[in-house]
Symmetry: C2
Subunit: 359 residues, 2 copies
């Protein structure tokens, strides 16, 4: 077996559905899927039910994670029109503030420029702000960040217009970073007939082949690969009102290793975008004695069912390279050949307030 040893991967964009929808995923099933995918740190999104916008709701997620997580994690807070002061006060307990500026799954959606600017002004300057901001909304949020003289991280870039304006903004010295999801690199509008309407629903939507080409052509601008793991059950996806989102934790490393095999990126690029850059952008602690062993012999085929509770993937049947065989977290084997050896609750919260406590 040809084995590759990688640092533990970091996924800054994961939906774990807890609290509120643990039939799709919870902190245990989701962090197990993370380990199976080579991730030893994940940052969880706040569009749960209830959304994570205040002390009570954040506490619900913190308790669930402390009891169940098998890898390290942070929890992003959600920005609402009403929680400007509250969010800022909770910053030390979170991994970042997420602003939903375009429509997606869940109730969090900000539209007013005043509110957006107030969040940017009030949230601690040195802590991350993440935005779901597509096309011209992205241009707007770049101006807000520029005027507030602070950084901004743009989630799941999917269009030519988006990667190009981020490229140009970086060239002008703006403090902007971005992530791309493997589904926006490997799937396009051309795949919708094959996947079917419900199973191809995702936000941002699958983009055109030209958009996909623009992402690949600008990979030097892409700071992070983020899975945007967004599990829904097949029954939900195949319903009359399919929720948007794909699982991604288990398929992302193989897809990106396939890109390495195909010489579309280098292995250094992969490690930068899946480890070093997210650690720097989200100010995450080092994980000593932590690594992932990957079998890089030959192709294998993505299976429909994995560890994630959702039970499907849009990448099923796709030939890919690289299988995670073993994950070691702080010198302990936590995953090997499909089996988990980490006890629920052994994952650590990476937020500053929790790091300070030690654990």
């Amino acid at each position: 077996m040809t084995s590759l040893r990688l640092p533990g991967l970091i996924d800054p964009h994961v939906h774990l559905r807890e609290p509120g929808a643990i039939h799709k995923e919870d902190f245990e099933s989701g962090t197990k899927a993370a380990l199976a995918g080579g991730f030893t740190t994940i940052l969880a999104m706040p569009n749960t039910s209830p959304p994570l916008i205040d002390d009570d709701s954040l506490t619900l997620a913190e308790i669930a994670a402390a009891q169940k997580a098998v890898c390290d994690y942070g929890i992003h807070l959600g920005a609402s029109p009403q929680n400007i002061e509250t969010a800022a006060s909770l910053a030390p307990r979170s991994s970042g503030l997420k602003l939903y500026l375009d429509a997606t799954f869940g109730p969090l959606h900000l539209t007013d420029l005043n509110i957006i600017r107030e969040h940017f002004g009030r949230w601690p300057h040195q802590r991350p702000i993440l935005c779901h901001a597509e096309d011209r909304t992205l241009a707007a949020v770049l101006m807000v960040a520029y005027l507030e003289k602070r950084s901004v991280h743009i989630c799941h870039v999917s269009r030519r217009s988006e990667i190009e304006i981020i490229r140009d903004a970086k060239m002008r010295g703006l403090d902007v970073t971005c992530e791309v999801g493997p589904h926006h690199l490997y799937l396009s509008t051309d795949d919708i007939p094959r996947l079917g309407a419900g199973r191809s629903e995702v936000r941002p939507r699958l983009a055109t082949p030209d958009d996909v080409a623009a992402l690949w052509a600008n990979m030097d601008i892409v700071d992070c690969i983020a899975t945007d793991h967004a599990p829904h059950t097949l029954a939900e996806k195949d319903s009359d009102n399919p929720p948007p989102g794909f699982p991604g934790l288990e398929s992302s490393l193989p897809l990106m290793l396939t890109a390495v095999h195909d010489s579309r990126i280098t292995l250094d690029d992969l490690v930068n975008k899946m480890v070093h850059n997210p650690r720097r952008i989200f100010d995450l602690p080092e994980q000593p004695d932590t690594y992932v062993e990957v079998d890089v012999d030959g192709e294998w085929t993505v299976r429909e069912k994995g560890v994630s509770r959702c039970g499907w993937t849009p990448f099923a049947g796709m030939p890919v390279r690289g299988q995670v065989r073993r994950v070691v977290l702080r010198n302990q084997t936590v995953y090997e050949d499909g089996s988990f050896f980490a006890s629920p609750g052994s994952g650590r919260n990476v937020a500053p307030a929790h790091q300070d406590k030690g654990s």
Copy 2:
């Protein structure tokens, strides 16, 4: 009579409805309303029928104006998703490129960031770009202008968020100018019950009293007073599908002189915002021997019917200061006490290509 002599006013934002809807207004009735309001130069908007987006449609407006206009005028081109090259090639025949980025009257509406950026990149750098861009769309277009390293003029600012981000952008050195309409200074959501639903329809909509207060508090940021004269007949305004827009050419100077009388702005402010700044921003020629005589004795009451063909005004019944008695254009009395002495077609086109021809 206490008489005040002002330079001929410039209105950078006028809808004359020709071609296509001359039952509302045409180049003769509209430019007569302009003279009656103290304006000797108006810039006409392109959301006519057909919209002014190519040689054929621009020619229609040029011919109508050349036959009918009694004051000087420019014609703004409209930006469409298809006319990026065409618009740029017609720049010398126009007074600016108008981008409609939020919904309003007429078919011109751009949404894609790529298209917006291409227009900004392709339109001649030294010629004006005007944007209908509200709230976060305004933030987006500021970023586009910043990245393209060019100026942008923001039409009819109506909200606190808008004037404040323009203020902050100016402080950061962005090359942005803006205009405010007297209706957004003198009317608010509080006036909607009195005016009625149809007669209060306007884009941008009437804003809150807090927004109105923010505009007055930031008058030092406001470069131009623009009427956004947008005539529709009363039958249309009172219909089940009322089009948005107010007439404004005849009421704007009295309203702004009322603001001078009330010490909300100085007379110098008025002349800067209604003459010098629009001349500079739109690179308009001087009009020698041109002035407006205004009777500034006492209050008078705005009448429902004026010179504009639309036959109504939302300011009817409002007590104001300052009545235009006489307008002299290039040493000829063109308006005096309700009578017009300019022959149709005597107005000049201020676009560079037409200036070069002489006339």
